[in-house]
């Protein structure tokens, strides 16, 4: 394996990791954009998505890539309930309340998951495990190609939803100016529920792709990805979906590049080094606008 192939391979792993981050961060940004809520428990929705996928897979043996639909639908419902019961009552009462509420949710959801599914590390096997496809000089596992394609499809679907549907446009309007949206008759509370549910569904998609790629999972798996998702949306610009996509890819590539060139212990740290540099040069993030 020559040095060029090694670098290409590492870029490929960076793109794969970026896909998971993009889905998680896009969901988080969707929620923040519309509701301006800081949800630290977002990683826990990734974890629930992972467990729903694994549970359905264990029970039915169905293709885990198809279970992603079920997982996303379930998380739309769970997200809507969490928004209605937890976030709506405290909306607008101060950022501190939102932060503590979401931190509380982390513990409740983690322990709830541990009670239901146990806290042992688990994993599932993809039906395409062991199949490789040639891409240039590389022979890459089919699973990662599917994961990248599915991420692109989900993002395209989100784009169409936001740009072409009435609810999508109402979400954009609420994101741009909540009071203005209310004045023109948009039911912003309904938009809040939909945004929160959709954000959670994107986290569920990230969770499904996480487990399908053979990564282990347990009830505490969501915390670190959630912190990274926050770094990504700050990096990309709060509320900016293109920013979340570019930030996610950048994060995936930077992490894997750092693991190769600097050593595995730099994998997490490098993201925050980049974040600090970007914030010093451009405090609103890569795609953020003033006032966000």
């Amino acid at each position: 394996m020559d040095e060029f192939s090694v670098i290409l391979q590492i870029i490929f792993w960076g793109l794969y990791a970026g896909c998971i981050y993009i889905l998680l961060a896009t969901g988080l940004n969707l929620i923040f954009g519309v509701m301006k809520v800081v949800n630290f428990a977002h990683g826990e929705f990734l974890m629930i998505g992972a467990y729903i996928t694994a549970t359905v897979f264990f029970l039915t043996g169905a293709n885990p890539y198809l279970i992603i639909v079920l997982s996303m639908l379930a998380l739309i419902g769970i997200g809507a309930v969490v928004e209605r019961l937890c976030f709506r009552p405290i909306l607008g009462t101060g950022k501190l309340n939102e932060i503590f509420l979401s931190i509380g949710l982390i513990y409740i959801i983690q322990n709830g998951a541990a009670m239901i599914w146990g806290d042992a590390w688990q994993s599932i096997k993809s039906p395409y495990s062991g199949i490789t496809v040639p891409i240039g000089p590389l022979a890459v596992p089919l699973d990662y190609v599917i994961i990248m394609v599915m991420t692109a499809v989900i993002l395209c679907g989100l784009y169409v939803f936001l740009k072409k549907t009435t609810i999508g446009m109402q979400m954009q309007a609420t994101s741009q100016n909540r009071k203005g949206a209310m004045l023109v008759g948009i039911d912003v509370e309904r938009i809040d529920v939909i945004s929160f549910g959709l954000g959670c569904a994107l986290a569920a998609a990230a969770g499904t792709l996480w487990v399908v790629s053979g990564q282990v999972f347990n009830p505490y798996m969501g915390s670190i990805p959630a912190i990274k998702a926050f770094a990504i949306i700050i990096l990309g610009g709060l509320g900016s979906i293109p920013g979340a996509i570019i930030g996610g890819l950048l994060m995936g590539l930077a992490e894997n590049g750092a693991a190769y060139f600097l050593g595995g212990i730099w994998k997490d740290a490098i993201s925050f080094v980049i974040l600090i540099i970007v914030l010093v040069i451009r405090p609103t993030g890569l795609f953020g606008e003033k006032g966000e």
Binding site: M1, E3, V6, Q9, I10, W13, G14, Y16, A17, D119, A120, W121, Q122, S123, K125, S129, G130, T132, A139, P141, Y144, G214, Q215, V216, N218, Y220, M221, I224, N256, A259, Y260, G263, G264, I265, K267, D268
Partner: protein, 437 residues
């Protein structure tokens, strides 16, 4: 009628008095053993196993009559658990509560070197004997920061020991097999790669491998040494770098939740067709499940396995322990559970030998301890603690995994050393040796 009521009342009062007397008698003949285990938090799987194994041990000792004290009286064991919550602060709370509130006579348990070392000051302050059965860093009894560990006894192999055993196994068994396959001379350096957790545990293994190669002048060349942070689940980049270094084998200093995905990713995603060697904590049922068919041909250094037992004296004892554990809890014990089971027997024996629960006397009994091995294979089949760092010496083994069609997973068989092995090591047909090009 009234007489009947009177008689019943008298009988009830008498029964209550007798029960009270017998309870008082029992209270005087009770040895309280504090078991520190992670019942909650990330290590709760291991911790629960340790606590349940301790209960199986206490049940057996109590059923056999308990512990004989100096005055000839018999005492029963009473276990009290302290949950360290898988954290250093939780460990400090648990140790303090067991010592000051529950007033236990001796402590057994302790998992994770970072957690266990955090409450060693409390142990030193209270001068209470502590048999550590789960933490594997040598730091437990080798502290250089002035904390007195003279009451701490380490009954769990350290990273020094298993790093050394594994490297010697590579030199004595894998290296000749690879040379034979290649038709190469014995002078060909064996190309070993390391992938280790960036903690005291992983670095301990890295240091032990390096020291063993240097001290024994082994013909082993470390071609790649990659680290990862604790809890990592994506090893693809490090494995890509390792593959580029063309290794003959890869030694993983990893926990099971890291080792299983690392091996899976190496074979499935990277195409690294080599021999993987894992540390003993990977020898649990979940690891076999997670690694699936990709574990085939790999090696685990072990001292207690859910699926095999060494040839020799402990075969039957390990089977009996597994049966008793299954009968009580419906699951099977793991390695840290086995050493904790041993630990309860050691604690009972030390108090029996001391003839008292006086802590200084029990400590001295542990220093002088020479008891037959319980369920884990020990050097010379005897449990004793080294005079310098109070560490017991285990007879470790290497097991190789092979696919089991019935289980749909791999299962281990012991391949080294000669006195414990049940079969021979083989290089899998798909194995690809490294080259220096």
């Amino acid at each position: 009628m009234n007489y009947r009521i009177l008689v019943i009342a008298v009988l009830l009062v008498t029964a209550a008095l007798i029960a009270g007397c017998s309870q008082q008698q029992a209270a005087t003949g009770v040895i309280k053993i504090g078991v520190i285990a992670s019942l909650t938090g990330p290590a709760s799987n291991v911790g629960t196993n340790m606590w349940q194994s301790a209960q199986v041990a206490a049940d057996k000792i109590n059923a056999d009559g308990g512990v004989t004290l100096k005055d000839g009286s018999k005492a029963q064991l009473k276990l009290i658990v302290g949950d360290d919550e898988s954290t250093a602060t939780g460990g400090q709370k648990a140790a303090t509560k067991l010592i000051t509130e529950d007033k236990v006579d001796i402590l057994v348990g302790g998992y994770s070197s970072a957690v266990t070392s955090s409450y060693e000051q409390t142990i030193a302050d209270n001068k209470i004997p502590f048999i550590v059965t789960g933490a594997s860093s040598p730091i437990i009894t080798h502290r250089s920061d002035g904390i007195d560990t003279s009451y701490v006894f380490h009954h769990c192999p350290t990273t020094d020991t298993y790093g050394q055993y594994t490297t010697l196994f590579i030199d004595q068994v894998i290296r000749p097999a690879v040379n034979k396959k290649l038709g190469a001379a014995d002078t060909r350096p064996f190309r070993l790669a390391l992938l280790y957790q960036d903690t005291a545990f992983g670095k301990g293994i890295q240091t032990a491998v390096n020291n063993t190669i240097t001290d024994n002048r082994l013909n082993i060349q470390l071609v790649s040494q990659q680290s990862f942070k604790m809890g990592e689940s994506d090893f693809r980049t490090q494995l890509t770098a390792i593959k580029a270094a063309n290794p003959d084998a890869l030694y993983l200093g990893a926990f099971p939740n890291e080792g299983a995905p690392a091996i899976t990713q190496a074979r499935r995603d990277i195409g690294l067709s080599t021999i993987f060697l894992s540390a003993e904590n990977n020898d649990n049922a979940q690891f076999y499940k997670d690694v699936g068919q990709y574990g085939e041909g790999s090696i685990i250094e072990s001292r207690f396995s859910p699926y095999t037992a060494p040839a020799g004296a402990v075969t039957q004892d390990q089977a009996s322990f597994k049966q008793a554990y299954f009968a009580k809890f419906g699951t099977y014990p793991d390695m840290m559970g086995a050493s904790t089971y041993d630990g309860i027997f050691i604690a009972a024996k030390a108090i029996g030998n001391a003839g008292t629960t006086d802590k200084a006397a029990v400590r001295q009994a542990l220093v002088d301890m020479k008891m037959p091995q319980v369920i884990e294979a020990m050097k010379n089949q005897t449990i004793s603690f080294s005079p310098d760092f109070r560490e017991s010496s285990f007879d470790l083994w290497m097991e190789q995994l092979a696919m089991n069609a019935t289980a749909g997973e791999t299962r281990p068989a012991i391949v080294w050393p000669d006195n414990l092995k049940t079969t021979d090591f083989i290089l899998p047909s798909w194995y690809v040796a490294g080259n220096s090009s």
